[in-house]
Symmetry: C2
Subunit: 253 residues, 2 copies
């Protein structure tokens, strides 16, 4: 059960989007992903949460509904809310992925991500080469141009993300779209993670160009190969970061 006295109000992190129920969901979600409440465990009931956070039941319930919708919980009358088994979690949900990342060793996380990226992105590039519309090709091209203009550094992350997302969109298969969030998260956080130790940032531009050209020509095979090549480079960059193996904990705000 819940350790300690319930009289103590837990203070909620001030996240950017300031909805109370959202903050609650974030707080509870983080606790679930970090293992405070394991799958199968029964959470404190609604009244408890009210006391813990000092909010109304309405707000608590909306937070719980949010987590339920993401597959983390299931509520039953007289029982309470129970944490669902991991395989039911919508891990590719933006929030869930963020909570997951916060609870994990970055090394492990990037390893999982790269494993999936190497499976999917070459095929996505191949599909894009075959299925892209002219408009989608334009989006890819523009993202690439912006990337080139920005050169290396923090500013190149956004167009880089746009490039990969545009590619994904051009594959024209809705079932792949959830991976956009994973890619976005990967690229953004990877930059933070590797930026201090990125040996040859400009090397990525030609690799991206290779994908763009193959997709432009409609050459699926070449696109696949180029995408894989880029990912292999990314692997090496990650590998060169000294393994701190520490969870990035937010310093006290």
């Amino acid at each position: 059960m819940n350790a300690g006295k319930l009289s103590q109000k837990t203070s909620l992190a001030k996240s950017g989007d300031s909805n109370l129920h959202r903050k609650l969901a974030q707080s509870i979600g983080n606790q679930i992903l970090s293992g405070v409440y394991a799958p199968g465990a029964i959470l404190p009931n609604e009244a408890d949460w009210c006391r813990i956070y000092g909010t109304s039941r309405t707000t608590v319930r909306e937070a719980v509904k949010t987590l339920t919708a993401k597959g983390l919980l299931k509520s039953r009358t007289k029982i309470g809310s129970r944490v669902e088994p991991r395989e039911n979690w919508n891990i590719l949900d933006r929030d869930v992925l963020a909570w997951h990342m916060a609870a994990m060793n970055p090394q492990e996380f990037f390893a999982s991500v790269q494993e999936v990226r190497k499976i999917l992105e070459p095929e996505i590039a191949a599909l894009a080469a075959l299925n892209r519309t002219p408009q989608q090709l334009r989006a890819i091209t523009e993202a690439f141009e912006d990337m080139r203009k920005a050169k290396a550094g923090r500013n190149s992350v956004a167009p880089d993300v746009r490039f990969h997302l545009a590619l994904l969109a051009a594959a024209n298969n809705v079932l792949l779209s959830p991976f956009g969030i994973m890619i976005e998260s990967a690229l953004t956080n990877m930059f933070e993670f590797t930026s201090t130790h990125n040996p040859e940032p400009d090397m990525f531009i030609p690799k991206h160009e290779g994908i763009l050209k193959a997709v432009t020509r409609g050459n699926a095979k070449a696109a696949r190969k180029a995408a894989l090549s880029l990912l292999t480079d990314t692997d090496q960059t990650i590998a060169q970061v000294p393994s701190k193996a520490k969870k990035p904990r937010k310093p006290k705000a």
Copy 2:
């Protein structure tokens, strides 16, 4: 209760799990996925939904929070709730996928699914061959045995699903787990769709056995090949179903 005769009240389908806010979410979710409310559109406000469905605002808000958590909506004060762009939808969420399927032509849906399955499942099988634990291998084996016992027919669907899910679990990469829902949905609905026109149902057993053996031996390459082979067969089965191209509408219960 006041199950009124308000002529304007939309009657809610009686889904298995009978929560009012859940039914509401289902109803609104279906409308979004079927295009009644397109991305960018602003939904009726909470008061409107109350009138439309004859429920309290509490219930409406919980339904909206559910849909928001699945990426379908975003609410803003003074504006209302707006439908998010498709790429933000958690399409691999169980509910969203079901609504999506209900709104689509089955042929198209299965085409998308098979495209993704052919990308992922061979790699999943390969990863499973490398990463499986003994326990996971046992789960796969047991599912296969149950499948063989059940022979063809409706009873073989459940173990078939279990086989593929066990394989997925054995790949030991959390980021792949959302596809379990897709696979489950695909296999289940595929049976409904092809059962009347499935020429050689027993042919699938040896194919599954091929995957099992490869995974047992830890032979990634063979596992990949066997998984792809199974999927190619599935493709053919689908192709042989005469294209009715009709949406399966539930007859009024």
